[in-house]
């Protein structure tokens, strides 16, 4: 009787030890992620300014559908997503395959150079890009000198070119970051697989699509999900390069939420509703990406 008791006590003790290691992290994540998330959901059914809020059911959600600024912000965010994420992932994959070549010289230099943009803060590089691409900025000066254009391109003030500038900026900042993940994964692939493929006469593009892409699929899936989540939350760049302008031509959903809550009269309820639209989009897109990756597996 005594023995089982002490055994039981020992087991409870070791279970408690295990939980005590993870407890602080679990509490902090619940308090600062899941609890606010629930609060935002409750807020999304309320309207009013500041802290004078009353429940109004689905009013905010029906307002979304007729809100032109919201629709423009969603459209802009999706343009960034559909153009920039594939562009960056293909570029990063291509560069990492080149860098993984065993005969390549100056490998360290190339890798460091291409990763370098990742050490800059989003705000800092955004300001640099804003000046480089301004009307009389260096990019236009160079294009004019090389006679590639006859008049300066309105990189910041034209609705079309402003989106291009944002896409170029994000691609500059994040390609090297994704490259590091691919390079790490590539180094884990056994080289003999490629040797065997070469003996069988597979071209480099066959090797790329037949060996590299399938083996890297989990990490490609991971980077495309994180990039998608990142792009859906895009804020720093747009805020500091174009401020969302001209008009609302480059405004993102996150920026609209910020404006609704902290720039105009604080409309926390409706802002929370807009923020839930991102939650739903992230959930949907992640499911789709998992499905797409899963199907090709089978």
């Amino acid at each position: 009787m005594h023995q089982t008791n002490s055994k039981l006590r020992f087991r409870t003790k070791s279970v408690l030890t295990g939980w005590s290691f993870v407890l602080l992290a679990v509490i902090l994540i619940f308090v600062f992620y899941f609890y606010p998330m629930l609060q935002a959901l409750i807020l999304s059914f309320q309207t009013g300014t500041g802290s004078n809020l009353t429940f109004t059911g689905f009013d905010n959600y029906s307002r979304l559908l007729s809100d032109k600024t919201f629709i423009v912000s969603v459209k802009n965010t999706f343009i960034y997503l559909l153009v920039q994420v594939p562009l960056m992932i293909i570029l990063a994959l291509f560069i990492s395959v080149l860098l993984n070549d065993s005969k390549l010289r100056f490998k360290g230099f190339f890798r460091t150079a291409i990763f370098l943009p990742c050490v800059t803060s989003l705000v800092a590089y955004s300001v640099v890009f804003k000046y480089l691409f301004s009307g009389n900025g260096l990019v236009n000066t160079m294009l004019l000198k090389l006679h590639l254009v006859s008049a300066p391109i309105e990189w910041i003030t034209d609705p079309f070119w402003a989106k291009i500038t944002i896409i170029l900026a994000i691609t500059w900042r994040w390609t090297g970051y994704n490259m590091i993940f691919y390079l790490s994964a590539l180094q884990n692939i056994d080289h003999s697989i490629y040797e065997a493929a070469k003996i069988d006469g597979a071209s480099s593009s066959r090797q790329f699509f037949g060996i590299t892409v399938p083996l890297l699929k989990p990490i490609i899936l991971f980077t495309s999900i994180t990039s998608t989540i990142g792009t859906l939350q895009l804020f720093d760049e747009v805020m500091n390069i174009t401020k969302g302008g001209p008009g609302n031509a480059t405004q993102t959903i996150s920026q609209y939420i910020y404006n609704l809550s902290f720039k105009y009269a604080a409309d926390f309820g409706y802002a929370a509703t807009v923020s839930y639209s991102i939650v739903i989009m992230i959930a949907l897109l992640s499911v789709i990406q998992f499905k797409v990756a899963g199907d090709k597996n089978g």
Binding site: S14, V15, T17, G18, S20, F21, V22, A25, V26, L28, I29, F32, Y33, Y35, P36, A40, L43, I95, F109, F110, A113, I114, P117, C118, V119, T120, S121, L122, V123, A124, Y125, S126, V127, V128, F129, L132, L138, T141, W172, G176, S184, Q187, N188, I229, L232, F235, D236, N240, S254, I257, Y258, S261, F268, A271, A272, S275, Y276, V279, I282, S286
Partner: protein, 274 residues
């Protein structure tokens, strides 16, 4: 055929490297030039570095912002490493079904967009301000608390713990060390590269954090470097030389951390991808 392929390879990588480096060069060169020369497209180093720096020190609270950023990032990094490594270790070493469920729930937090959290968090810290002003709006604590624990870092440490030799654990237990003792005296020293990689990731994201500090830090005395740079960059008649020196100074810490710890970073990343 093979030769032209090689040539194309080097050409492509060289262009990529130049495009990546050029904005840095421009920013460093411009910080030594007068504003007019920057506008004219001058690409050579100038002699106005000190003058630009003086102007920056006179018009902004540079030292204060640097100190604020340093305090916040260093505290965040140290706390984040401690919390996440304890949890990552706990989830892996004391693995159980219920813990695996909790772990998977924590991972879901990676999908939550910050935009959905910022309003409730702002209101939460607004309420805290009424009771404990020292950790409410406009304090260092309010910046650190919501950002210090990330599921990503916990995941990162758990993945790396998978490679931690279990024999060392047993040896520690045989020697009569407590579970915390094993963690502190055996695990921590063996996992240096993981900690280094985690430190780089956390320090960089904390030093560069913009949106949350923008919302929660409201007085000039609490401004961090990204907020200072953003304010300078949004002026109507920008003094390019002066802004560029601010950006250079703001970038030095993260660049330094990266270059000093680059080897550990790559090693740590490879470990987590395995």
């Amino acid at each position: 055929m093979a030769k032209s392929k090689r040539f194309f390879m080097y050409l492509f990588l060289s262009i990529a490297a130049i495009v990546s480096i050029f904005p840095f060069l421009w920013m460093v060169v411009s910080s030594t030039n007068q504003s007019v020369d920057v506008t004219r497209g001058r690409l050579l180093p100038g002699t106005h570095l000190l003058e630009n720096l003086r102007k920056l020190l006179d018009t902004t609270d540079l030292q204060l912002s640097l100190m604020n950023s340093a305090k916040i990032s260093i505290t965040t990094t140290l706390l984040a490493l401690l919390i996440a490594s304890l949890a990552g270790y706990g989830f892996e070493v004391f693995r159980s079904r219920s813990k695996d469920i909790v772990f998977n729930i924590l991972l879901l937090s990676m999908m939550i967009p910050f935009a959905a959290l910022m309003i409730p968090l702002y209101r939460m810290f607004g309420q805290i301000s009424n009771v404990f002003p020292w950790m409410g709006i406009d304090t260092m604590t309010s910046v650190i608390l919501p950002t210090v624990t990330t599921a990503f870092l916990i995941f990162f440490f758990r993945q790396s713990t998978k490679m931690f030799p279990k024999e060392l654990l047993e040896a520690g237990r045989m020697d009569g060390l407590s579970e915390l003792g094993i963690f502190l005296r055996i695990y921590l020293p063996t996992m240096k590269t993981t900690y280094a990689a985690g430190a780089i990731i956390t320090f960089m994201s904390s030093w560069n954090n913009y949106l949350w500090p923008l919302i929660v830090l409201q007085t000039p005395q609490t401004k961090t470097m990204p907020l200072l740079i953003s304010t300078l960059g949004s002026g109507y008649a920008p003094d390019y030389g002066m802004i560029m020196i601010a950006i250079v100074i703001g970038t030095i810490p993260t660049a330094l951390v990266f270059f000093v710890m680059q080897k550990q970073f790559v090693a740590g990343m490879i470990g987590s991808v395995k």
